[in-house]
């Protein structure tokens, strides 16, 4: 790896580089746009299901169809958000990043699109199955048991080309983002196959079932969403800031720390439960230790951006990515804090689990993906985003909603958990106890729905080639006269 790294110090951009980038972008156009658009469609579905399920918890009679009962719409929402939106947005970003960083054009866009169709089929069957009442009770694995082979095979068909691309890369190009993309290629099949073999094939779950499901869910967060998100932010931040990543050492520490520690985590969700104390204790310890890679990444990103924070104001990609990086810190601190026995005693099996899921999937991953999409789409479509105002609306709608969701669900979780802890009260009264927070959650979903709707329209216009052809980037704000200088430095045409 050392020789590769030394060869990377060539910040000069030649005309040849530009033409090569353009050619790579063009070659990835079909699969990347396919995954982004189908991800966005699933984001819409997930948003509606999220709105319905959070309403159902306050007004159970709302839309009185059996298919949309809370017990079905809630897992349908989460799985649509995860497998429909997050994974597919991740695929698009992984493909594009891998092609760009390996400096090779994508040879087989059609294969990827076909595999992508199968992935969508699997997600559709899964979400439909959950709504039809066929789902399983395992956390983040609620898809009926016939869906998992479809997802696993189509995933493998997608990532095998990324691995091939990596092995055939041009010599001298391994960047931090590639470590993470490559890791993500392998972690999902490992996690998904293991969990499904134990839970859906052998079915000898008993007490082990929830432990395996917790391990799976936590690791999908820390071994798939985190690597893909970090691959994106390690790319976007230096690209826009125009500086090298601050420290190779910190990046190495963060990568190996994550990969080495995350597989131990998960069972701390069951702390105090009927499994040997050893398992949740080791898992909780690993979860706390996972803060080390978080600190390393946070330092690295912060020190890379230092001195150029004005760009966060202007660049949509950087702003979303920066917000997502903060989300990474927040979700890691939450997951570590909630695994302490003294806290978990009150919060286990409460809405704090929703808080961790939403912070991880939305505040960190989704926001990072938005940043990547705002960066990649103009490159693969050849036109620019139409409106800075729409991006601004999308950002603030999402950002307020993420922060509010995180705070609200944490508070709801503590009140819910404390109410469950009182043995005189039944579960229903525990839910009613947190009702105020749950009503707040509906409001947040309305915010998110509005923000996502604007984003979807914007993306659809871009995909239909209705973007601007001006050749200048669409920024969140038009820079003031006195700020004009740094903007030109950032994103001005160099060629």
């Amino acid at each position: 790896m050392s020789q590769d790294d030394q060869n990377q110090h060539s910040p000069e951009v030649t005309q040849e580089d530009i033409l090569q980038r353009a050619a790579i972008d063009k070659s990835t156009r079909l699969p990347v746009l396919f995954f982004f658009t189908s991800a966005a469609a699933w984001l819409l579905v997930a948003t509606l299901l999220g709105l319905i399920s959070s309403t159902k918890l306050v007004a159970p009679g709302f839309l009185g169809i059996e298919w949309l009962n809370y017990g079905r719409s809630q897992p349908a929402f989460l799985n649509a958000l995860l497998y429909g939106w997050a994974f597919q947005a991740g695929f698009g970003v992984m493909i594009w990043l891998m092609a760009r960083l390996c400096r090779s054009e994508l040879k087989n866009p059609i294969t990827l699109v076909v595999a992508g169709h199968f992935w969508n089929l699997g997600v559709t069957l899964g979400v439909g199955g959950i709504l039809a009442g066929l789902g399983t009770p395992m956390k983040w694995l609620e898809f009926p048991s016939f869906a998992w082979p479809i997802l696993l095979i189509s995933y493998s068909l997608i990532v095998v080309w990324l691995v091939v691309m990596f092995t055939a890369r041009r010599r001298g190009h391994v960047f931090i983002s590639q470590w993470y993309v490559l890791a993500a290629c392998f972690t999902f099949p490992w996690l998904y196959l293991t969990a499904n073999l134990f839970l859906n094939v052998m079915k000898k779950s008993g007490v082990a079932g929830p432990a395996i499901a917790s391990w799976y869910a936590n690791n999908i967060l820390f071994l798939w969403l985190v690597p893909v998100g970090l691959a994106s932010s390690y790319f976007i931040i230096p690209k826009i800031v125009g500086k090298p990543i601050h420290s190779y050492q910190l990046a190495t520490l963060a990568f190996w720390g994550l990969v080495g520690l995350a597989p131990w985590t998960g069972a701390q969700d069951l702390v105090g439960g009927p499994i040997p104390a050893l398992i949740p204790a080791f898992a909780g310890t690993a979860q706390v230790l996972l803060l080390i890679p978080v600190i390393a990444v946070a330092f690295n990103h912060y020190l890379t951006v230092r001195g150029q924070h004005g760009l966060v104001e202007l660049s949509p990609s950087l702003r979303f990515t920066f917000f997502g990086s903060i989300g990474y810190v927040v979700v890691s601190v939450m997951a570590a804090g909630l695994s302490f026995m003294t806290v978990a005693r009150y919060t286990a099996f409460s809405y704090t689990q929703d808080a961790v899921a939403m912070t991880g999937i939305y505040m960190f991953f989704t926001m990072t993906m938005f940043g990547a999409i705002y960066f990649i789409v103009p490159r693969v479509t050849g036109c620019e985003w139409l409106s800075g105002a729409r991006i601004r609306f999308h950002f603030w709608g999402s950002a307020y909603a993420c922060i509010a969701m995180c705070v609200l669900l944490l508070a709801a979780g503590f009140s819910h958990g404390a109410a469950i802890d009182e043995w005189e009260k039944d579960l229903q009264s525990a839910i009613i106890f947190s009702r105020g927070y749950l009503i707040g959650r509906i409001m947040i979903w309305l915010f998110l729905a509005a923000a996502n709707f604007v984003f979807l329209i914007h993306l659809a216009l871009m995909v239909m080639n209705r973007g601007r052809l001006a050749g200048t980037p669409t920024l969140i704000h038009q820079p003031h006269e006195d700020q004009a200088e740094p903007v030109i430095i950032t994103e001005g045409i160099k060629a």
Binding site: L19, S177, Q249, L278, P378, S387, K494
Partner: protein, 274 residues
């Protein structure tokens, strides 16, 4: 190709709205990108080591706190003691709790009595007398227990209607507690309200009638004081205060014992069954 685009940015500051494709615009995004990505070899900041070490210490504390260093690696988490005594659930109800006592009476009633007196407590017109609103049930604890223990034979007037039959004695088949539970149940069901009767009170009656071998006649029953209550039970002392919030079910009136006297007893009474 048109040079007009309807898709103008609301910002309106862009100058080129041409939809003409050209090389410079399609490559513009690639061209304006920063140089190739690189990683600098800045040494690890000491400031970063401080929080990293703090995390490592916290994790060690977590491990020690949850596993300990002892041989308990195979054990289970010690769950902190919650209010409510043993286990983490509610404390077990006393069998003398009015709700429990009456509920047991209902179950016992269902085994034998129900076949004649019916689930409605109204009996069978002309054949079996009603218990609902019956003066024999509601008045005189001693008299009711006497009937239950030794039965009735011959004509009997209940609620103004006359019956002529045999009520078999139950004292042989059922112990004091069951007799008391059934009596308590029939006194507090179907709109009846009366005191609860406990096994220690039944015991008194049983001892008093120990020599009796035949069922009572109406005339004999009338010799028993119709308002004659038994000496207060020691059982109801504990649940006397708990009886009040027993909403939903029958609202039994605690037997005889005056509440003030019961209160200190309640505090010291040991929970009868564990």
């Amino acid at each position: 190709m048109s040079t007009f685009s309807p898709f103008q940015s609301p910002d309106g500051t862009e100058t080129d709205y041409s939809r003409k494709l050209n090389v410079s615009s399609t490559h513009a995004a690639a061209a304006r990108e920063k140089g190739n990505l690189s990683v600098s070899r800045t040494p690890l900041s000491l400031w970063a080591l401080i929080p990293i070490c703090a995390v490592a210490v916290a994790a060690g504390g977590y491990l020690a706190g949850n596993v300990g260093w002892g041989p308990n690696l195979q054990g289970y988490n010690a769950v902190p003691e919650l209010p409510g005594g043993e286990g983490n659930g509610p404390p077990p109800l006393s069998p003398y709790d009015p709700k429990v006592w009456v509920a047991k009476g209902k179950a016992e009633y269902g085994t034998v009595c129900i076949s004649c007196h019916q689930g409605t407590g109204e009996g069978q017109p002309g054949q079996y007398p009603p218990l609902k609103g019956s003066e024999w049930v509601l008045h005189g604890e001693e008299r009711l227990i006497s009937i239950l223990l030794h039965g009735i034979s011959g004509p009997l007037t209940v609620n103004g209607k006359s019956f002529n039959g045999l009520m078999p004695p139950q004292g042989g088949a059922k112990n004091d507690a069951v007799i008391g539970q059934i009596a308590s149940y029939v006194r507090n069901e179907w709109g009846n309200t009366g005191s609860l009767i406990y096994d220690d009170q039944v015991k008194v009656v049983r001892a008093k009638l120990a020599s009796r071998t035949s069922p009572f006649s109406e005339a004999e029953l009338k010799q028993i004081d119709p308002e004659g209550n038994l000496p207060p039970s020691k059982r109801n002392a504990a649940p006397a205060e708990g009886a009040a919030p027993a909403a939903g079910g029958p609202a039994p009136v605690a037997a005889g014992a005056p509440a003030p006297a019961a209160a200190p007893a309640a505090a010291s009474a040991p929970a009868p069954a564990k």
